[in-house]
Symmetry: D2
Subunit: 214 residues, 4 copies
């Protein structure tokens, strides 16, 4: 089993991006799975182009994209990606799409097929705060998530995919002038390892019981 | 022009629900519109049954449902309703749907057609804090929103509809043991009046520029 | 009975300061008391010089200073003023005292003699969120509070005095880019009126039962 | 040099108290200092009786008490202890002092002599979020802090002492139903080690420049 996991490159003047730093520290194997790690740029379009190339090259069964949601206290698996971009600030190449759709022919939103509840249970039983999030925002993070789910819907129906938001790293937060929540990178990385473990062990659809997604 | 606006009945042991209290205080006419006010129960299914009956009876052009999101500091027009229920606590009749779809044959989500950005601008220029929300939760509020947008999609394509979350009323917050944000009911009610005004004046689709929703 | 109540002038580029705006709207008489309103500058030393002059001129029985604590959700009567200045930003005349005492010969702190618990009860029973605060910070607000209590201790033992922090005004908060708690100026002003009422009706010492402060 | 450092016992139904867990993990020697660790009960009076006995037995040069402030995101050295108790809930033996002084003959407050600014700089340069706090509350934590500073003032003038509040442990936070900030115990413990290091290296008075405290 192949797992492709991505993290964004540094952004907004930072020298590191904790999302990819945490990805980098993952082991190369988790249970029976090979872990393929990929840094993607915080740039609309480019990030998903690279993601698609990596999917074609590595044939993953599971794709997890990781980004930072500064200020959150928990690791938050995202439940839904929406077909919408509204960038508060420009991306790393100066793009700033406003109030526009990601895919003209796509539905308003896709639910992830990752077992978000099982992921949160796994993390919490390991002492790592976690909660499901129902909004990935309207910036590059949601863009990657929606685009991944669109690709899965159109081209890669056998892949399960989703997005995980992680808090500020503590060393970032320690430098900020105002108080904000954070988590050490080692704990974030352990949280991602537990996330992958939960995905491997819970391959059923997330909407059980109570209905199936298709 | 007819505007149907709903608020929930008291919930969780409270004697009033600020959402409907604010609705009740609205004038009967705003600009050229007749305002029809409806209290709906905080009960899955029943609330949308009553909503549908009121739509059939009153032939509204605009339907706005209002609920409370205790703890928020702003009036928050909701952008998206999702096809999902996961109730943390039972509703007023003891129903507690968990991890299930609202409509088996519905898409994962619908975007509102209300001009959420124009609503926020109108409110803020009136001195009322407002911001777009991208998650209405997974309880009765999101249930009503998704169900309304589903009904519009299937039966009432000429209606525009959406959902507005409002903060705690200050007199509720004053009774709570922990500090929490709030807003006086009169200001909430003024915010809803400005919301209707913005909807009347901005009939264009929300995804302009950058694409249209259909 | 004479009540002197002060509010700061506009600060940090703002055109109004809600603290004094709320003071200005107070009636000239509350119960049996004459209300004397004074705007003081957001400047170390100058503010207390003006305050002392106004005390000498008006012979108040009660002195209440009001300032803004942006971000708080409640009206917060301050319990204690500390003999310490550490200004994060310069005041309106460019002074920025760092890590220094206010009065070389003063004690580390003074408790207010205002009935802070009764004030909060009065406000909450009027539907206005309120809670006692145990820190007025280390800027001009705490400076005025400590200096007032020092003057009372040394020169005006018959006067009761204290400090009230109030939230952002809603129209200020509506202009900020990030979400923050606020309260309409009219409600802040009503809260100050109720504060004065509680002070008039509760003239006993605040540390009853359990001990007296001197 | 001897350093006495205390942490509270488990409280409010918890099986562990992260404050003492973090203390327990400290090394026995930090630079030239011997570290003496003491668990004290979350009980008014008893905690300071045990503290006084440990001071008499161990002749420390430095005394640091540690407690938990659930919800804070930073490690927070406390600047001031106040002569006041107002317990929201009973302590571990059912005592609940309300609105009363700790010491009838004590001043309203004492500033710590710990180098709180240097402590925060040391922690932040180690990647651990830290900020000075100006209120230790009105419960057992403030009680211990004020009592310690009172003992130092009256009986042990050669000792420097103070109080450090620490966040929830992440494994505690992971079990709570609502999202709250936290920090892993290992990082809290490292923060306490850095706190002791900063106290050893910065023996000057905290109010330099700008005045001395006595």
């Amino acid at each position: 089993m192949n797992v492709l996991i991505t993290g964004f490159d540094p952004f907004g003047g930072e020298s590191i991006n904790p999302a990819y730093e945490a990805v980098k520290r993952l082991p190369d194997h988790i249970q029976t799975a090979n872990i393929i790690k990929l840094e993607i740029p915080t740039v609309f379009e480019e990030c998903t182009k690279l993601l698609d190339e990596a999917i074609q090259k590595n044939h993953p069964d599971l794709v997890i994209c990781v980004g930072q949601a500064g200020g959150r206290v928990n690791i938050t698996p995202e439940f839904v990606g929406i077909n919408y971009m509204d960038a508060r600030i420009p991306d790393n190449k100066g793009n700033q799409p406003l109030q526009s759709k990601i895919k003209e022919d796509g539905p308003d939103a896709y639910f992830t097929k990752l077992p978000v509840k099982a992921i949160c249970e796994e993390l919490k039983s390991s002492g790592i705060p976690a909660v499901i999030s129902y909004s990935a925002g309207t910036y590059v993070c949601n863009y990657v998530m929606y685009s991944l789910l669109y690709m899965i819907d159109r081209k890669y129906p056998h892949i399960r995919g989703g997005f995980i938001h992680v808090p500020y790293d503590t060393s970032q937060a320690a430098k900020l002038s105002s108080s904000t929540a954070s988590m050490p990178i080692d704990m974030i990385s352990l949280g991602l390892e537990k996330t992958i473990k939960a995905c491997i062990e819970h391959s059923e659809d997330i909407l059980i019981p109570g209905g199936t997604t298709h």
